[in-house]
Symmetry: C2
Subunit: 602 residues, 2 copies
């Protein structure tokens, strides 16, 4: 395959220059590994991505899953991809050796998944969801459940799903109506309907394990009465004899704009007496368990959005270098040769904008993965705690910023190609359709905004926010004495000070009137995201500047690489960051125009 | 059909309050008409739209045109729609009575087309293109050609296309390579390939008339050597006997992301000796002729984009009113009733943003149509000239602003529905896919930007720009004495003054260095568009305010209508206009970051 979906040089930069992934080798959990092991893992992922996932990206879109009333059929390549991924052990890569895993760091698994997602995001959803579901079982299920379900979820015999949403309740999890009734054998009988369940049915794995939120009869109302259940499609027999079909039925497939090779399903539980479900963890604590999965999934959504944007950018870049068309405005000679379209200033602007979005987004997500890693394996309890707190604050940004801006990158990539970008003969329109899901699933942008301003920022006495400010200030100090970096740092410093001011003001507005204080939360989310990504770019610029001024001058190719990073940092901080100004003004004044709009006036 | 795609009240407001369409009845050409005739025409269009176009909007997407190597097949509903539209006489509605037309004003024809486009934009493309091609024939072709081709293009026996783009040249029309060789009989033989030709083949009309740009052998290079040819698919026999198949072959269909029921074709001319073509007008003047069609098409693209956004907005609005989900942040009682999602501040923000985009965009396009009308039928030569000059300036905005922001409205509509917005079970994702074409065809956004800053603004000693400034200042004066309107007017006045400053600066930059001065033209286009649309909204606000303060108080329903317009004007001017600030700063400084980005740094 001539097309490189995710350039190794960028991944290497993120892992070993932007982050210090090698330092993980000092931690007890990773002492037996080496940078070579990490790289070999990624090479394997890349090879699988190119051979088994990229090959049916377009086909899975054109020939989406079908349901004949009995069986869901996927194109056969999907199963081959699943098998290649699971046979390579990736479903268990982050498990300890003694659990049968490879004991690899989170960031390496995420990088591996990035290759897979870049190649085919909708076939990648099956392993992605299974990883998440298995993590839930591993963290919270009883030993018995773990012994029964985890091994086949680690080796690819079983797939997993997360079943939260219901037709009438959407994102309002407090209003879940699916019920769980205790049975004599200690299990439960589940009744209800779930909607938009990705991977909710297929026939490529032996079994599907649904992680289902439901309400035990008599439970408290609201989110404090929700429990988590493991509901398998087939109930395995304890003695190894044939499994029994559970009372989970596919009510129908939904037909998405993109992401088509991932089934989206409506599932009926208990239409014939009750689906057998097993309580995971304690009763009524289901939502907090599910949030572990959700938070992991949110980093995954951000990363997925970033790599879709990245792939589109690479395609548009290559096209712009190769496609001759027109002449510069200053050239009035119609007999002169046409220039490649990258020579047109506006095409260059669109490409640089894409670069700032997709490389900024990917760096943000990789940073989030490193925080996840630190939260679990950093040496001291306080380091682990700090990483967890900061990640908690940043999760709404990590989920929503790439979903918004890397989709916009796909939009710009289409625009670079013009008419060719709009037709299915080129991959860009599919990337755009696929990526459009990301601002919706795992919590819409509006939900992330309220989560950020309403909970994550004020929560824990603003501990996360304070850590972020400290981290940004540390980077600002690293810029001292370098005039180029100082200009960028001053812009960020100024923006941070404005963010501090508006944050304080909004928290005050919320005390006076919660609804009104939160009304413009989406603006705050966008402003916050621009400040964070400016910081991410400044950190990359610091590294690039250091490398360019190193005693041993880098090769020409390396110089170009770092100059590109510097230019993208300039672009982001000079073109994108200033857009917070009008937003800050609206937030500071608590502009009430949308809030006061009446239903009857529409 | 319960869904109203384009609300009559909004069209009525635009035609008879925002514009003074009734005043047209004073002009000699329209003296025999009445407001009742106009309204009856629109009712007919609405009925045809709902009965014959809306019925296969989704089907035309799911069952796109196919080509078996011989014939292109469309779903049969397409032909029924074409027939209903043409049988009602719409293809000739704007022609004079003596030409066999209805002598209706442009604005009425455009309003009629708006209903059709809202119902099914891709089936509407066939009549839309035919109207444009026929206008070219009518304006520039010889009497003989007109007599032969115009009647069947007016009654629907023939369809029309515009064939500009070639595979290797894209938007760079100067580099057209299709050739025309004179034949003994005064006609030409056309050789070459055209790409992205919408409606380039189908089997629902008796014939297809391609308006083809080609270069006569020996013509000057560049745009001054391009001529316009009429190339029919079938050459009608002079004696009425069977027509001969011309040497125009369908090389293949292209498969678009949306707009699928409009064929997009690659056409080969002259593979078997030469396609017969007839010169339209004078040799080497083809591009200027084609620009008449192009300018009309650009208003059409803007209007099409606006109505797609409008339809999506209406759908999202209805959904938001009906769908209960969640509670306000201030309500901690999980047992309280859920609210409809329009009660959530962020949903209201997304709806108001859509309203400001789609009603602003539609008003802008209707205003442009009224300028088109004035340019042709205003009483004095100077009025006609002024209207033409102002329309010429505004055309890049009329084409690009709705294409950008009404697509964004579709994006927001999807977001209001969440998961349901993303699936084909609801119409929003199709509207979004269909609308994505509009920033591309008839000149991309980048092309509009260079056209605006490089030609339209400086051209004719800035006559168009000066007229716009005068028109805006007139509206500003109308706001004096009304405190609400004055606040909005002050904001616009300030923005206009900044636009004036940056325009002067950029024209200076362009003299110093054309390429660099034009490098940030897209930013200028966006800034310019925001100022123009703020003015369009202020004009609507002036009317709304006047009606709300009229001696006879309007009905409750009418009050709500005008309050909505006022609130949307506030939203646009308070939330959207200020985004020009950072753009103006970048333009003023001539920020060079994208311009100086090197190809090797990407």
């Amino acid at each position: 395959m001539s097309e490189q979906y995710l350039k190794e040089r960028d991944i290497e930069f993120l892992l070993y220059e932007f982050l210090d992934t090698e330092a993980l080798l000092q931690r007890p959990r990773y002492r037996e590994h080496s940078r070579e092991v990490f790289n070999a893992t990624l090479l394997t992922a890349q090879a699988i991505a190119e051979k088994y996932f990229a090959n049916h990206y377009a086909k899975g879109d054109a020939c989406e899953p079908t349901f004949d009333g009995d069986t869901v059929t996927l194109i056969p390549e999907t199963r081959e991809a699943w098998k290649a991924f699971t046979d390579a052990g990736f479903l268990a890569a982050h498990y300890d050796f003694e659990e049968g895993g490879m004991q690899l760091p989170e960031i390496i698994l995420r990088s591996a998944m990035a290759y897979i997602n870049a190649a085919n995001v909708s076939s990648a959803a099956y392993p992605f969801l299974t990883l998440g579901a298995a993590n839930l079982v591993r963290s919270f299920a009883s030993t018995e459940l773990k012994e029964r379900y985890l091994p086949p979820m680690m080796d690819g015999r079983y797939a997993g799903t997360m079943a939260l949403t219901e037709p009438d309740q959407g994102s309002a999890l407090a209003d879940i109506r699916t019920t769980a009734t205790p049975a004599d054998d200690g299990s439960y009988r589940i009744h209800g309907q779930k909607m938009f369940i990705s991977g909710g049915d297929q026939s490529m794995t032996e079994n599907i394990v649904h992680m289902v939120l439901a309400r035990i009869k008599g439970a408290p109302v609201g989110v404090k009465g929700i429990s988590l259940f493991l509901v398998p499609k087939f109930i395995p027999a304890a003695d190894g004899s044939e499994a029994t079909r559970n009372d989970v039925q596919l009510a129908g497939l939904l037909h998405k704009m993109g992401y088509r090779n991932t089934t989206s399903t409506v599932l009926s539980f208990g239409e014939n007496g009750g689906a057998v479900g097993y309580l995971v963890g304690e009763a009524h604590k289901g939502l907090s368990y599910m949030f572990q999965l959700m938070n992991e999934a949110r980093i995954g959504v951000g990363t997925g959005a970033a790599v879709l944007g990245y792939r589109g950018y690479q395609h548009a870049l290559q096209y712009a270098k190769e496609r001759p068309q027109g002449r510069l405005p200053s050239n009035r000679d119609p007999q002169s040769r046409q220039v490649s379209i990258i020579q047109h200033a506006d095409v260059r602007r669109m490409l640089l904008m894409q670069k700032s979005y997709v490389e900024g987004g990917l760096a943000l997500c990789f940073y989030a993965s490193s925080l996840f890693e630190d939260a679990h394996t950093a040496e001291s309890e306080s380091e682990r705690q700090q990483a967890a707190t900061l990640l908690d604050l940043l999760t709404p940004i990590v989920k929503s910023w790439p979903s918004k801006y890397c989709l916009k990158a796909n939009d710009l990539a289409i625009q670079v190609l013009g008419g060719s970008g709009y037709i299915r003969e080129y991959p860009l329109e599919q990337l755009y359709r696929d990526n459009r899901l990301n601002p919706i699933h795992e919590g819409t942008e509006g939900i992330q905004a309220v989560d950020l301003l309403g909970r994550k920022v004020p929560g824990n006495d603003m501990a996360g926010y304070k850590l972020l400010v400290e981290a940004i200030e540390k980077t600002l100090r690293e810029c001292t004495g370098n005039s180029t970096l100082e200009t960028l740092a001053d812009a960020l410093k100024n923006a941070l000070s404005q963010l501090n001011g508006v944050t304080e003001n909004l928290l005050g507005q919320m005390i006076a009137n919660t609804d009104r204080g939160l009304a413009n939360a989406s603006l705050y989310l966008d402003t916050f995201g621009r400040v964070v990504v400016s910081w991410i770019w400044l950190r990359q610029a610091v590294i690039a500047s250091r490398k360019l001024h190193a005693e041993t001058a880098p090769s020409d190719e390396e110089q170009n690489f770092y100059r590109g990073k510097l230019q993208a940092a300039h672009f982001y901080i000079e073109w994108e960051l200033p857009e917070i100004q009008p937003q800050i003004a609206l937030l500071q004044s608590g502009n009430p125009v949308p809030f006061e709009m009446q239903e009857d006036w529409f």
